[in-house]
Subunit: 180 residues, 2 copies
DNA sequence: AGTGGAAGGTTGAAGCTTCAAGTAACACCG
DNA sequence: CGGTGTTACTTGAAGCTTCAACCTTCCACT
């Protein structure tokens, strides 16, 4: 058993990282909740749909882009559907699958709430960092994500090096209101 | 209305950071849950108590060190008490306050589970990073935390520059099993 | 065709967090 | 000494996530 402890530099870093991971979701949620009646995760769902072709995505693809499990997404999409922000359509090509599509009301909701959310992200994250640190953070988070999701299943954050495969009947698109 | 969008560098960084913040808690929870029957937050509670003088901390101080709200902590400590890992004692000096104290069983639980947890943190985070990146990450997370918690209320991650005030009747101590 | 297994989702229950309210104790101030 | 406000928590309800089934449908083979 070659168990090691952490070095003091690692420990100091970990304490801060853990604190940030604990605090950041709350900061995102509370701004969006207050100003738009959305959780950050709901916002992500709307944003990812807005960037997709036809503003439509299969549940599995949407789950990957929002870093979520399928059950979680399923519940959330049902609630968003009840609120009229999203609709579900059975997928014609594959009868097992469900397509989630952003409604006009969902698009409007996103357009309304995006600026405030982006301001919030900038305030909490980017105003605190130098451009150099932003670049460092990109490569650090990239490295950690490779560990958390080695297979790149969560495609949102990976620029996948795989050749341009069919990519689940989706086409790259032009108009997204999202910004994360 | 001087609303700006994010630059493409910022956006790319944000997508990864958001993914990491979403995925890391699950990775921590599932290892601890599987191997020790604890959530990461429960582990943190035990760890912070283990480092405190008398293995005892007031609820407010413990909440600060675990980056949690008081209601959240209150529920969790009650459940830990039901499991015999922690006990609650009314504070003699201030009858409003409650002291949480790590029991012997709680200490044992922590000692058992710490090595596996530390391995997991090292695997997901530190093995992915160069020593230089670890230093960069410490300063980046420090900067972001200053934004998330400007008053330094969550003391865990801040080395507070304030003069040595009374510090809530706590004394710095020697023996902790925690490591975050 | 027919079968075994995998893929894609959904569902209900259990568990945890958040939120709003409520209680008790302390502290200050005239 | 009484009043006013603040601090320190606890509690119950509501909401969200997770977990473990479950049901279809698709796919690959024989």
């Amino acid at each position: 058993m070659s168990r090691q402890w952490l070095t003091s530099e690692q420990l100091a870093t970990w304490v801060r990282l853990a604190a940030m991971v604990e605090l950041l979701p709350g900061a995102l949620d509370s701004q969006l909740r207050r100003d738009a009646g959305l959780t950050h995760f709901e916002y992500m769902v709307l944003a990812m749909l807005s960037e997709a072709s036809e503003r439509t995505l299969r549940m599995t693809a949407l789950a990957a882009r929002t870093n979520a499990t399928l059950p979680r997404l399923s519940h959330v999409v049902r609630r968003l559907e009840d609120r009229g922000l999203v609709e579900r359509l059975p997928c014609p090509q594959d009868k097992r699958a469900t397509n989630a599509r952003l409604t006009e009301a969902g698009w409007q909701k996103l357009v309304e709430s995006a600026p405030g959310h982006v301001d919030n992200v900038r305030h909490h994250v980017f105003e605190a960092l130098t451009p150099e640190q932003v670049a460092q953070l990109a490569s650090i988070t990239g490295a950690i994500l490779d560990r958390l999701d080695p297979d790149g299943v969560m495609t949102a954050a990976h620029q996948r090096p795989t050749p341009p495969t069919d990519e689940e009947h989706q086409v790259r698109d032009k108009s997204g209101a999202g910004q994360g």
